[in-house]
Subunit: 212 residues, 2 copies
DNA sequence: GCAGATAATGACTTAGAAGTCATTTACTGC
DNA sequence: GCAGTAAATGACTTCTAAGTCATTATCTGC
């Protein structure tokens, strides 16, 4: 953090921090957008949360919309690519591979800010097609490719049945999506235990794909 | 949709239709709320769509929020109850029962306005907990009960394995939820074929639950 | 320690949408 | 047909939040 040569560590009220501001404003914006939606979010609130004043936001972003798009793009991190390559090298069964990958997805979904992102995409995707398209291209389609590769591996090695489910590997991850949706809608009224849910998910999927 | 017939002798510009207005305004409101969200929806637009003027809305609803709640409550129709009773009487296997019930759910989800409702609940649930709670109580928890009854039947008759998936029957319907979410976010960029998706869904679930 | 340069501020303007209400007009019973 | 009524209107007020900008305070190099 910045420092000052007075008594309290950070007394100056107008610290100039050109480098740090955008990221702080983006983080504040993302949080506000996530639980209010684009239209209901006030830049005044975003500013307050970021520890600045509304006018400051306009030094770094042209408009509310520009901040919105910047915030979402900053959050969409394609971490998938390396996984695809390492699939070939995995030594165990494909069931074990799924037992490794599925919990990773749950951790990503519920540990990081991704389900926050999901809510925004669902809520605002219609009005910001560019964002939905970007997210689809950068994250969703890659995740899908990985799933396809895994299921194909299982079929090729004779571990999984071929059939309708193997042809549309998306269904394999559906319970995780449902859990995320539940978390953001009904969890207050009827909480779900993610750990148990994930076990049920794996139980269903591994048995559903397994060759007889 | 309910528009005025411009040819017919319906020229009067201020028809008084006390009975029909509320339903028309609600329908218009639901449509606008669904693709704009609560905050971004303008009552002026709702009025235009309903063929009235903004002031008229206030004859029937106290506020934008009141209209919103009325619209959602009108759409939440608990059609589940009779199903629960008829489960006992179903003659076939539990797999066949699911092959009957799952397509019904897909038809409900995609044929009627339910996935529209879903989007609103996801987008605005945080700001309108009363609505989310109502929807959960009237629809979700009943659907869940039905699923539980079906899976229990399968286990009791020795058709389904008992295990993690059978203990949390929610996972069984997850792919339908995912399909609905997909429809409202990425379908423009990468359309999914609901029919094929449903087959993959049933394939995965029936095999995943089946006793060995 | 001084003089630019510019990050940050907060008071301001503006736009747009919620909500109000006096007036107009269609319908009703007589 | 007429008078009373209330449904519907549209012009109005009010309020809120986006976006602007002249001023102020902090930082930098000298």
């Amino acid at each position: 953090m910045g420092k000052e040569s007075s008594l309290a560590p950070d007394t100056a009220k107008r610290r100039r921090r050109k480098e740090a501001r955008p990221a702080e404003i983006i983080a504040a914006g993302l949080a506000e957008f996530a639980d209010r939606g684009f239209a209901a979010t006030k830049l005044e609130d975003v500013a307050a949360r970021a520890g600045v004043v509304k006018g400051t936001i306009y030094r770094y972003f042209d408009s509310k919309e520009a901040l919105f798009e910047a915030a979402l793009k900053a959050q969409i991190a394609p971490v998938f690519d390396e996984v695809l390559g390492s699939l070939d090298r995995f030594p165990g069964s494909t069931a074990d591979l799924l037992r490794l990958v599925v919990p990773t997805i749950y951790r990503e979904l519920f540990g990081s800010g991704i389900h926050v992102l999901m809510r925004i995409i669902i809520a605002e995707g219609g009005r910001f097609p560019a964002i939905a398209e970007f997210y689809h291209r950068e994250s969703i389609s890659r995740g899908k490719a990985i799933l396809e590769a895994i299921v194909r591996r299982g079929v090729e090695r004779g571990e999984f049945r071929s059939g309708a489910a193997a042809d549309l590997p998306m269904v394999v991850i559906a319970p995780a999506v449902m859990a995320a949706v539940w978390k953001m809608t009904f969890d207050r009224f009827e909480p779900i235990a993610i750990e148990r849910f994930m076990e049920a998910h794996l139980d269903l999927v591994l048995n559903g794909l397994a060759a007889r």
